[in-house]
Every structure is written in structure tokens, then in C-alpha cells.
């Protein structure tokens, strides 16, 4: 600490940064030591509130993470002492606290805050398959990223009381049914890692696809999903799919600025201004993808990232390596059996071999019926028909798609295309 106290606004920024970086670490450590989820959240909250009061006056500490962890842990000791029945837990916490005051010997695997990183335990517990998916998502956002109950409720468009109930119920189940707070043994990892990745990807997509709701909180969801995936990829270095998912998210996020025009309308990949892509981020994504692929254990996220990487590498839409993308989609479809992937494959094939080839694949998909009611199915058919010059059929497909689309930008896009192909009535 040195010099004059910093300006309040500067401190607020520093605290906000520390919040993003340290919240999950602090709650994870406190849950590990006390077994009490609510206590951990309250003490983490208090520590950040104290920082906002103290740092403008005393200056920002040299190791903000360690300061916050100490304050949070002391708060926990204090509360447990008042509860008086938790002697053993208090002692464990006190031991951790004294160990940390010595500047000489940080724990192995510890960082700035001086404690081992327990976030991996917390991630696996929040994403335990015995909890409902929506509860896994809510708990992950609350305890690992510190998003408030109100913010999570807003992001997922449910009343705050519903979200609060969901969180309480999940914590009860963890306690009652004894869901263990640990990283699964190595043998169980292949079964559990996909579940964790699915939660993180769902959070990212909720933010990215903007199916509804307010923009700011949604961009925030994307950033938090990326940050958590980064933590996971670092803490599970032998899981290529974690790096694959991280690469996938970064490739997508790099295009964020170019996805929406000034009027808030969606811009398709084809029409995006590629100079507005974040090329530095694309390079970072490519690095993660290469590291993942080097393990030679392909998975759905690595393949999706590879597809996103093909798009990112193309200087223009025309110069995209569509045959390679179609090939990657074929592998992805084999791996996942997902009709949505099959739909994307049809798009890639249409680009590589012409819209008639795409239309043939689409017809097979439509007979299957798995995507009935999904607006992108008629929207894709409309696009193929338009490119084949079959305008009347295209128009009715656009109409069908617009009726199924849920958000404003998607519907506006479809109506605009409809106007292009519809014969003039005047």
C-alpha cells in the first residue's frame, strides 16, 4: 500500500474486478471448510462490502484476494463461534487463518489468496446430475460467479421468488440427500465432465442467443460462462473437451460486435462486417483448440470449435471452406445424433454443393419430424428456395418461419427476407 488513498471510483472498479476474480474462490473455500452454503455466501458478501468501505480510506491491499479471503474467513469464524456448536469447524478455519499469516510458505497450488483452489469441487457439486438442470445453472451462477438471485432471475425471465425458491431447494437437496462436495474420482470424470460442460454451455448460449430479455445481463452471462470454462480448462488440463468448449465460446464471442446492426437487427454470418470481429480473441481461441486437438480425443465441443474456427479463418463468406465444414458437421451428427446438427449440416452442404443438395438433406429431416415447430427449419428451407429462384415457395416458407420465431430481431429478419421474395401486389 502506498501514497494517497485512491479515488472512490477507482476503488469501486478494483473491487468489481476482485469480485469477478475472487468470489467463486472464496465461497468454494468457505463451503469446503464449513459445509454451510448460506454462511459462505453471506461472508463473501460481507467481505466485499467491507472492501468498499475500507479500501478508499486505507488504500487497496497488495494482495486483494488474500485480504478478502481473510476477512471472509474471520467473518465465518465469528458467526460460527456465536453459533457455538461448531467447535471443530471453527478450529479448522482458525488453523487455515494462522497458516496464512506467515508470508513465507504459500500452499502448493495456492495463489494470491493463499488457499488451495476449491472451485473445482464447487463446480462439480453445483452441476451434480441429481439436481435439476435449471437448479444446476442457478446454483453455479450464484455460488461461483456471485450473480445475485435477482440478476439470475432476470437473465432467465422468471420471478425472483421462483429463482430464490429454486436455489433454496437445491441447497436443501445437497444437504438432505448428502450430495458430496468433491471432485469425482478419476474413473467417474468421463461421466461427470460432460454434465458440467453442458451447464456452462447453456449459460453461454442463454447469453449469446438472446432469446429474450435485457442485453447487458446477457452479455454478462457470456463473460461469466467464458471465465468459468477457463477455470475448468485450467483445473482439468487432461480434459480436451473443456478446452474445446472454451475455444468454441471464444470464437463465438469474437463475432459478438458484428452480429447485431445499429437498429438491433440480427446480421447473418454471411453479411457480417468481418473487420469488426475480435481477431485477437480468435487467435486465443485457436490456441485452445489446437491444445485440445493435440490430445487426440475428439468430442462435440472440439468439433463445433473447429467449425467456428473455419468461419473465423475465412476473409469473406465466399472464401469459407464449406466442404470442410460439411465434413465436420457430418462427424458431429454421427457423434450426437442431433437433428439440429443435421440441419446445420444441410446448410453447409448447400454452401459446398449448392442449395439443391441442401434441400435434399432437409427433406429427409422434415420427414423425420424431430424438428417440428422449430423456426429455423422453415427458415432454412426458405433460404434454399430463394437461392434456387423458387420465390413463391420461399415466401410461404418465410411466413411459416416468422410465425414460429420468438424474438423481435429474428422475426424482423425473416419479414425483411419475405419482402425480398414476395411478388409485388401493387
Amino acid at each position: 500500500m502506498s501514497g494517497a488513498p485512491p479515488a472512490v471510483s477507482v476503488v469501486e472498479t478494483v473491487v468489481a474486478d476482485a469480485f469477478r476474480q475472487e468470489w467463486g474462490r472464496i465461497t468454494a473455500a468457505l463451503i469446503h471448510q464449513t459445509g454451510d452454503w448460506d454462511l459462505a455466501e453471506e461472508c463473501a458478501q460481507d467481505a466485499f462490502a467491507r472492501a468498499l468501505l475500507r479500501w478508499p480510506r486505507d488504500g487497496v491491499p497488495d494482495r486483494p484476494g488474500a485480504w478478502l479471503m481473510t476477512v471472509a474467513r474471520n467473518g465465518a469464524i465469528d458467526r460460527l463461534r456465536r453459533g457455538s456448536t461448531y467447535r471443530a469447524k471453527v478450529e479448522e478455519l482458525a488453523v487455515m487463518a494462522t497458516r496464512e499469516t506467515g508470508p513465507s510458505d504459500p500452499d502448493p497450488g495456492a495463489d494470491d489468496s493463499g488457499v488451495p483452489d476449491e472451485r473445482l469441487r464447487l463446480i462439480f457439486t453445483c452441476c451434480h446430475p441429481a439436481l435439476a438442470m435449471e437448479a444446476q445453472v442457478a446454483l453455479t451462477l450464484r455460488t461461483l460467479t456471485g450473480l445475485s438471485t435477482a440478476e439470475i432471475a432476470r437473465a432467465f425471465l422468471v420471478p425472483e421468488a421462483t429463482m430464490a425458491k429454486r436455489l433454496v431447494r437445491a441447497k436443501h437437496k445437497i444437504a438432505h440427500a448428502r450430495i458430496p462436495y468433491r471432485v469425482p474420482p478419476a474413473g467417474a470424470l468421463p461421466q461427470r465432465v460432460p454434465g458440467v460442460l453442458a451447464v456452462l454451455y447453456l449459460v453461454f448460449n442463454e447469453g449469446y442467443s438472446a432469446s429474450a430479455g435485457d442485453d447487458l445481463i446477457r452479455r454478462d452471462l457470456c463473460d461469466r460462462a467464458v471465465a468459468l470454462t477457463q477455470v475448468l480448462a485450467e483445473l482439468l488440463p487432461s480434459e480436451p473437451e473443456a478446452k474445446g468448449l472454451l475455444a468454441l465460446m471464444l470464437f463465438h464471442r469474437a463475432r459478438q460486435a458484428a452480429r447485431v446492426n445499429d437498429r438491433g437487427d440480427l446480421v447473418t454470418l454471411e453479411d457480417q462486417d468481418r473487420t469488426r470481429w475480435d481477431h485477437a480473441q480468435i487467435e486465443v481461441a485457436r490456441g485452445y483448440l489446437e491444445a485440445a486437438v493435440a490430445a487426440r480425443r475428439p468430442g462435440q465441443y472440439q468439433i463445433q470449435a473447429a467449425i467456428a474456427g473455419c468461419h473465423a479463418a475465412a476473409p469473406t463468406a465466399q472464401a469459407t471452406d464449406w466442404p470442410r465444414i460439411a465434413w465436420l458437421y457430418r462427424h458431429l451428427a454421427d457423434l450426437t445424433g442431433s437433428p439440429v446438427v443435421e440441419l446445420n449440416r444441410a446448410v453447409a452442404v448447400a454452401m459446398a454443393d449448392g442449395p439443391a443438395a441442401g434441400l435434399a438433406l432437409l427433406q429427409r429431416l422434415e420427414t423425420g419430424g424431430a424438428l417440428a415447430g422449430y423456426y429455423l427449419l422453415p427458415a432454412t428451407r426458405a433460404d434454399f428456395l430463394r437461392r434456387l429462384g423458387r420465390n413463391e415457395e420461399a415466401a410461404s416458407a418465410y411466413e411459416e418461419a416468422a410465425a414460429l420465431a420468438s424474438t423481435g430481431p429474428e422475426r424482423r429478419f425473416l419479414t425483411a427476407r419475405l419482402a425480398e421474395v414476395r411478388p409485388q401486389h401493387t
Binding site: H128, P129, A130, L131, A132, A135, R169, H172, K173, H176, A177, R178, I179, P180, P184, A188, Q191
Partner: protein, 237 residues
């Protein structure tokens, strides 16, 4: 003959426990334990804390919640020893759950008799594992079920399985509901769901992962459903 009494109630059951219900439970336990009728039993956590496990195409599928959505939730059980189904039905009609919800009576078939259990070991959690049928599984698939003996032997050896039994088929069950002090006894189980309870095992495990692992190895995991529900510990909400 041993019978299982499955206690059920509305989801907001905890509010239904008034002084009268507590007094009735106390005298029911005094009488049945004193006379050696009640062998073992206890309250269970409600649906929100249940987990259902199945294995399909070699894939373990774990879901949050009970084996079936029912109006009356399972809230506890007793295993009693008495001479006939009629006598068991009478005991069921005097249990407070018969007016707070319903009590289903099912005879235990096969296996050694259930005995009274000591308190769980330190750090151990007890789970009721309900062995249930899955209407999505056809009779042909069901016919390929493996024998349960090796699973029982393995879980007994590991100290995970405390006791358990196959139950008389659902058609042979009786369900007792007392309304306005009149007992209404119906044939069949308490829930009119397509999924039905076929048997049960009481497990004692370090945590839910161990209980799920045990359930997943049960032969019925491939052709049925296994619900794992923790016992309710004293003083727990």
C-alpha cells in the same frame, strides 16, 4: 408375515402435524413396538430430495425427483409383523398418515425377515431405495432381467444394503384412507401411476454418489427405475 406400510401425505404435509396427529403417532408406536408388531421404520425426506436412477443402452441416467409424480408424497414407512393382511390394514388405519394422506399395505415376499436396525454409523446416511417398474419398458425386454441375488450378496458384503424385499404385486396391495373417522380401504396402491413399486432396499452409504452407484448396479436399473430417497434425520427440516 411381514408387511410394509408406506406412509403418504400431501406435499405440505409438515403443516398437517397437529397435536392430535403427534399424539396418535406416539400411541401407535408405543403399542406396535411394545407388542413386537413394529419391526423397523422411519420418516423419509419428501419428493424434492429424491433422485431416480436408470440405465438405458449402457448409459446411466440420473434425474432429480421421485419415480413418479403423485398427489400424495411418500413420507415414511414401517415394516410390521402380523398374522394377516386384514390385521395389517387395521394397524394402517390407526396410523395418523391414514387421515393425513394414505397408508399403503404390501406384503413382503421372499428373503430373510426384516430386523430392527441400530443407529447409522458415523458420517453414514440411510436411503430408502424403491425398486419400481417403468411402463416404457416392454414385457419382452423385462423378461431379460438378470437375477438379483448377486447384487444382494455384493451389497450385503459391502455393508451398503441393510435389508430389503420384493413386495406382493401392486394388485394385491390395500390402501387405507381415514376420512371423517371412517376408514376407506381400496384395492391397489396409493398412486394411480403407471410406474409402480415392486420392492425396496434400505441402504447405508457415505453419500448420494455411493447410493447412486449401488442403485445403478441393481438388475432393475436396466428394465425399471430405482428411486433413492434419504431418511429424515431428527431435527432436520
Amino acid at each position: 408375515m411381514q408387511y410394509m406400510l408406506i406412509h403418504t401425505g400431501a406435499p405440505d404435509l409438515d403443516w398437517a402435524w397437529d397435536d392430535e396427529a403427534w399424539a396418535a403417532l406416539r400411541s401407535w408406536l408405543d403399542e406396535t413396538i411394545g407388542s413386537g408388531v413394529s419391526i423397523e421404520g422411519g420418516p423419509l425426506q419428501l419428493d424434492a430430495d429424491a433422485t431416480t436412477v436408470k440405465v438405458r443402452n449402457g448409459q446411466l441416467i440420473i434425474t432429480d425427483g421421485p419415480y413418479a409424480e403423485t398427489k400424495e408424497q411418500i413420507a415414511g414407512f414401517d415394516v410390521i409383523e402380523c398374522a394377516s393382511l386384514e390385521e395389517a390394514v387395521q394397524w394402517a388405519g390407526r396410523h395418523p398418515h391414514s387421515w393425513m394422506g394414505a397408508v399403503e399395505v404390501r406384503a413382503l415376499v421372499g428373503g430373510p425377515p426384516v430386523v430392527h436396525l441400530p443407529e447409522p454409523g458415523a458420517g453414514q446416511t440411510r436411503y430408502m431405495m424403491l425398486v419400481c417398474t417403468d411402463p416404457a419398458v416392454g414385457p419382452q425386454e423385462f423378461a431379460h432381467i438378470e437375477p438379483v441375488g448377486p447384487w444382494v450378496a455384493a451389497m450385503d458384503r459391502r455393508g451398503i444394503r441393510l435389508f430389503g424385499s420384493v413386495l406382493d404385486p401392486p394388485g394385491a396391495a390395500r390402501t387405507v384412507r381415514v376420512r371423517d373417522k371412517h376408514a376407506i380401504v381400496t384395492d391397489g396402491p396409493f398412486a394411480e401411476t403407471k410406474e409402480q413399486i415392486a420392492g425396496f432396499d434400505v441402504l447405508e452409504c457415505a453419500d448420494l454418489d455411493e447410493a447412486i452407484e449401488a442403485a445403478a448396479k441393481h438388475p432393475m436399473a436396466r428394465v425399471g427405475l430405482l428411486e433413492v430417497r434419504p431418511f429424515r434425520r431428527l431435527g432436520e427440516d
